[in-house]
C-alpha cells in the first residue's frame, strides 16, 4: 500500500513538476532539438532573402535628376538631396580635385548618416567610426561591410544631374 502511494506521487511529480529547477530544466536532447529548429529558421530566413533578391529586386533610379548648379557647392562642400519618389537620402560631394560624386548618405553598417570631411578625401560615419573613400565609396576602415551605393553624376552646362550608375558596383 505504501509503495503504491509513493509510485503515485512520482507520477504526479512527473506531470506537474513543482520544483522550479525541474520545470525550467532544458535537457541536452531538448537543446539539440531546439538547435535544429533554429537551423530551420535560418534556412527559412535565407529563403526569404533569396526570394527578395530574385523576385523583388531594388528598383534603380530612373531618369536624370537635376540637383543644383556648380556654384551652389564650393570645393570641399556637400549638398544633401532626395530624389523624387524616393525616401533615400543622398549626398553630393565636390571633391578637391574638382570632380563631383554622389553617394547614399546611409552608412552600410547601421544606416547612420554619413558626412564628408573636407580635405581628407574621406566620408565618415560618426556612429561607429566607419570610413569610406570619397572617390569610389569603398570602405577604408571601421565596421561597414560594403561600399556606399552611388549615383552617376553628370555636369552639363554648369548644372549637375544624377542618374542610375551605368554599371552596378562600379564608380
Amino acid at each position: 500500500m505504501n509503495q503504491n502511494n509513493n509510485q503515485e506521487e512520482e507520477n504526479w511529480k512527473q506531470d506537474f513538476p513543482y520544483h522550479k529547477q525541474n520545470a525550467a530544466l532544458v535537457g541536452r536532447r531538448e537543446f539539440a532539438k531546439m538547435l535544429t529548429l533554429v537551423s530551420g529558421g535560418l534556412a527559412f530566413g535565407s529563403g526569404l532573402v533569396a526570394a527578395k533578391a530574385n523576385f523583388f529586386p531594388k528598383s534603380p533610379v530612373e531618369g536624370e535628376h537635376f540637383i543644383c548648379t556648380i556654384e551652389d557647392i564650393p570645393v570641399g562642400g556637400t549638398k544633401s538631396f532626395v530624389i523624387e519618389g524616393s525616401t533615400i537620402p543622398y549626398i553630393l560631394i565636390h571633391l578637391e580635385d574638382g570632380s563631383f560624386k554622389a553617394y547614399e548618405q546611409k552608412c552600410t553598417h547601421l544606416s547612420c548618416s554619413v558626412y564628408y570631411q573636407p580635405g581628407s578625401g574621406q566620408i565618415i560615419c560618426p556612429c561607429h567610426n566607419g570610413y569610406f573613400d570619397a572617390k569610389d565609396g569603398s570602405v577604408l576602415a571601421g565596421p561597414p561591410p560594403r561600399k556606399l551605393p552611388h549615383l552617376q553624376v553628370t555636369v552639363r552646362e554648369n548644372e549637375i544631374y544624377v542618374s542610375a550608375p551605368e554599371v552596378l558596383n562600379n564608380v
Binding site: Q7, R29, A32, L35, S39, L42, A43, S46, G47
Partner: protein, 89 residues
C-alpha cells in the same frame, strides 16, 4: 539474460554522453555556418548581387537537412521501466 548490447553499455558507460555532446557540437557549428551564410547573403543582396543569396539559401537548406538527420543519432538514454498507472490502481 545478458546480451552483447547490455555488456557494451556496461563497459562504456560514457558512450551516450559522448555521442550526445558530439551531436550538439556539430549542430552548433552548423548553426554558426548558417548564420554566416545569412549574413553574407544579406550583404551581397544589398550590394545588388542576387546569385550569392540563391547559393546561400540552398547551402543553408542542405545544412538544415543535415541537422535533421543528426537528430536520428541522439541517444534516448536508458529506458526505466515504470508500471503503468492502470496497473497501480
Amino acid at each position: 539474460m545478458s546480451t552483447f548490447r547490455t555488456n557494451q553499455n556496461n563497459a562504456n558507460t560514457n558512450k551516450l554522453n559522448v555521442i550526445l555532446s558530439t551531436v550538439i557540437v556539430i549542430l552548433v557549428m552548423n548553426v554558426g555556418l548558417q548564420i554566416w551564410l545569412l549574413y553574407t547573403a544579406l550583404n551581397y543582396t544589398l550590394d545588388n548581387d542576387q546569385h550569392v543569396a540563391t547559393i546561400a539559401f540552398w547551402a543553408s537548406l542542405v545544412i538544415f537537412f543535415i541537422c535533421l538527420g543528426l537528430l536520428y543519432y541522439i541517444p534516448m538514454g536508458k529506458k526505466i521501466k515504470t508500471p503503468k498507472r492502470s496497473a497501480i490502481r
